[in-house]
Symmetry: C2
Subunit: 409 residues, 2 copies
C-alpha cells in the first residue's frame, strides 16, 4: 500500500473539492484587537455525512452537547460555524439557545435545511456569547465564502486562541485513478491532555463515507493522535474533532474493511497525527517537545499510566525546561503512576543513550544524555521489561512563561 501524500501548512479545508470557507472579525474578545478574526465558517453545498469526537469532561459546553445531539440525529450537514474568544461554557440553557442560534443563522443565510451546521466555540469559560456581534459576523462570513486558499487559512486563523500559528494539513491518496483529498485545520495551545485538549480540529474529505463508518474511522484516529499529547494535563469543556465527507470525488468507502477503507483510515490518521503534532509543538509557552515511550509494560493501560505520569509531572517538565537530565524524576514519576513496575528491571534511555539499566544508574553516560536534552525535541524511553505493551505520548516542558501567561485569563 503506497503512503498518502501529506502537504504541511496547506490551505486546509479549501483544498477539498466542494468545500469553501470564510472568516470574520466580530470583536468577540472583550479587550484588544477588534480586527482579529474570531469567526470561522466551513461550507459544502453538497450534503455531507459527519462524525465527531468530543471532550470527556463531565462539564460539556453547550455547543459540544449540541453537536453530539445533531450527529446522533444523523441528518446530512453542510458545514461548521465556530468562534474563538468565548467558549460558551457553563452558560446553561441560554448558552444552548445561543449555540442553536449560531447554527440557525448560518444555515438560513445559506439556504440549507435546519440543523445543517455544526457549532463550536473556544475561549473563556463562563460568559454568555455576545450574540449581536456574532450575528453581524455570521452575515459577513456567509457572504464571503470562497474556495480560495487564503480563505481556508483565514478560517484556520479565526479559531486560534493562545496559539501562535495556524495549523493546517492536506492528505491525498489515489484510488482507481481517482484522487481522494482529506484536509483539516486545528487549534490547541493550553488545557491540552488526556482525551483531547482545548482543541478544535475540523476535517473535510471528498470521499463518500456512511456516517457509522466515518465515526469508527475518526474515533480510532483520534485515539492514536489527539489523545496522546499533553501540554498541561488539563482537559477542556469544549474539545471537539469533526469530520465532514461530501462524496464529491465519487470514491465510496462502503464499510470499515478492505483496501479502500484502510487507505482512507490511514489518510485520516495522518491528518490527525500531523495536526496533533502541531498542537503540541505550539503548546503554550513551551520550549521543548519530548516523545515519551514506555515499553515492556504488562498492559497498554500500564504503559499509558507511566507515560502520562511522566508527561504531566511538574518536576519532570520543569527539568526539561532547564535542560537538566534528571532521570531520577522520571523514575519517581514512573513509580507513582499506579502501574506495575519493578525497580530492578527498569531501563531508561535518552534517545539511544542508556541512563539506567536494570535499575542501576550509568553515570558514565551522563555527558551523552546531557547533550540529548539540549535539543528542542528529543525522545525518552522507559522499558519496564515486564511485558510487551507500550504507549507513546508527546509531551512538553513547563516554563516560567506558561505560569506568567496563565496567571490571569
Amino acid at each position: 500500500m503506497s503512503e498518502p501524500t501529506v502537504t504541511e501548512n496547506s490551505p486546509g479545508v479549501t483544498d477539498v473539492p466542494g468545500f469553501s470557507a470564510a472568516a470574520a472579525a466580530c470583536g468577540i474578545r472583550a479587550t484588544g484587537d477588534r480586527d482579529r478574526l474570531d469567526l470561522a465558517l466551513i461550507y459544502s453545498k453538497d450534503p455531507c455525512s459527519a462524525a465527531g469526537v468530543f471532550t470527556q469532561n463531565a462539564v460539556k459546553a453547550p455547543p459540544v452537547r449540541l453537536c453530539a445531539d445533531l450527529l446522533a440525529a444523523g441528518q446530512p450537514f453542510h458545514g461548521i460555524v465556530a468562534n474563538s474568544g468565548n467558549a460558551n461554557a457553563c452558560t446553561g440553557e441560554e448558552g444552548m439557545a445561543d449555540a442553536r442560534e449560531m447554527g440557525a443563522l448560518t444555515g438560513n443565510a445559506l439556504g440549507v435545511p435546519p440543523n445543517s451546521f455544526l457549532v463550536c466555540s473556544t475561549g473563556r469559560i463562563g460568559d454568555r456569547l455576545p450574540m449581536e456581534k456574532l450575528r453581524n459576523g455570521i452575515s459577513v462570513a456567509t457572504t464571503n465564502l470562497s474556495s480560495d486558499q487564503d480563505r481556508g487559512l483565514a478560517a484556520a486563523q479565526a479559531i486560534l486562541t493562545s496559539d501562535t500559528r495556524p495549523k493546517t494539513v492536506t492528505v491525498r491518496f489515489e484510488w482507481e485513478g481517482q484522487t481522494v483529498t482529506e484536509a483539516g485545520l486545528a487549534k490547541g495551545a493550553g488545557m491540552i491532555q488526556p482525551n483531547m485538549a482545548t482543541m478544535l480540529a475540523f476535517l473535510a474529505t471528498d470521499a463518500a463515507v456512511e456516517r457509522e463508518v466515518l465515526q469508527k474511522i475518526l474515533g480510532r484516529a483520534v485515539d492514536y493522535t489527539f489523545n496522546r499529547i499533553t501540554v498541561d494535563g488539563d482537559m477542556s469543556t469544549n474539545d471537539t474533532v469533526l469530520l465532514l465527507a461530501n462524496g464529491r470525488s465519487g470514491v465510496r468507502v462502503a464499510d470499515e474493511s478492505g483496501g479502500l477503507a484502510e487507505r482512507f483510515a490511514v489518510a485520516v490518521r495522518r491528518a490527525c497525527g500531523y495536526l496533533a503534532e502541531k498542537i503540541v509543538s505550539d503548546g503554550e509557552k513551551i520550549t521543548k517537545v519530548v516523545e515519551v515511550i514506555v515499553a515492556g509494560a504488562e498492559s497498554e493501560a500500564d504503559a499509558e499510566k507511566v507515560a502520562r505520569a511522566i508527561g504531566n509531572s511538574l518536576l519532570v517538565k520543569s527539568s526539561w525546561y532547564g535542560e537538566d537530565p534528571n532521570w531520577g524524576r522520571l523514575a519517581d514519576a514512573a513509580g507513582y503512576a499506579g502501574a506495575r513496575l519493578v525497580e530492578e528491571k527498569l531501563d531508561i534511555f535518552y534517545e539511544d543513550v542508556p541512563a539506567v539499566a536494570k535499575g542501576r544508574p550509568l553515570p558514565e553516560n551522563k555527558p551523552k544524555w546531557k547533550e540529548v536534552v539540549k535539543a528542542p525535541r528529543f525522545r525518552i524511553t522507559l522499558n519496564l521489561n515486564l511485558g510487551r505493551d507500550e504507549f507513546r505520548l508527546l509531551a512538553t516542558d513547563l516554563t516560567e512563561a506558561y505560569v506568567r501567561f496563565n496567571k490571569s485569563e
Copy 2:
C-alpha cells in the same frame, strides 16, 4: 473531652521526656555550604515501640524498604538517624548496604542492640551516599546528644531540603493527673502530594503504646493529614512518617478504643495536622495556600478526585498565583476529575461568597470573590449537591519561581 494543648514551633522531640537529639554537618551536598546541618539523630535510652507509614511509590528508596522491614520484625527501637542532601534512592543493593551501615554505626556508637535505629534519607535521587562523610557525621552526632531544646531544633533543621524553615510541634494532654507528650518535626517543600510528599516526619511520645495499636493510630492520622496536602502532585520515593513511643510517662494505651486511646489519637492527629499545614505553607516557592473543600459528593472517593484535580491543575494553580478569580478553571478541572458531577447542580463558593449556584454563574458577586483570592490563604468550596460525602485538600499555587527553582536539581 478537653482538647490537647498544641505548642507551635516548639523544640520538637526534645520536649518529650526521655528523648534527646543531635545534628551534624557532614558536607553531604556536592556543592555549597559545608557548614549546613545535614544529619539528624533522635535517641531514646528507653526502648521504644514504633510505627511507620511510607511512600506508595513503586520505586522505594533503600532506607524506606529497610524501615519497613525493621518495623515488620517488630523489635524495640532506640531512635532515628536521617540525612538530607541525598535520597539514597535508585541506588540498588549498595544503597541498601549503606542504609544498613548508617543504622549499625549509630547503634554501635550508642551501645544499643543491632537494628535499633530507623534510617531515613532525603534529597537527590540516584547517587550513592558519601559514606565516609556520613561516618564522620554519625560519630559527631552520637557524642553530642542532649535534650536541650536547641538540639531538637537542630535535628529539625538538619533534615530540611528546599524548605525555608524548620517545622516542629508539641502536643500535650492530661490523663489521670499525668501529662502525656507528643512532639515531632517534619520537612516537605517539593514533590508534595498524594499519599505523602517528599516529606519526612518524625514523632515521639512518652505514652506506652503497643506497636499494632500505634500503627493503627498513626496510619489513620496520616490519612487525614499528610495525605491531604498537595504542592506539585509528585509523590517521592522516600516519604516516611515515624512515631516512637518510649512509655516514660507511665500512661499505657492498651488498645484502640476507650477514652485514653481516643485522647492519644487526637493528639497524634493534631501533631500530624499541624506539621502537614506547615509543609504546605512552606511549599516550594508558593505564595498562596488554598483550602479546597468538595462537599455533596456521592462518595468520599468522588470528592477526593475532584479536590485533587483542582489542587493539581496547572491552570487553576497559575490563576491562584495571579489572584485571578477564574472559577471556570475550577469547573473544568472538576469536570475531568472522573467523578460523577452534574453541571446544573454545581455550587462554587470563594469563602462564603457564591460564584456559581446550581451551575449558573453569579457575575454580580465577582467584586467580592476577587477580594477573597487576594488573601495569602483562602477557602474554595464546591458543592456537587449529589450526596453527603466530602473531602478537604490543602493545596498551593504554582509560581514562576517554582519552575525556575526546579529547572535543575
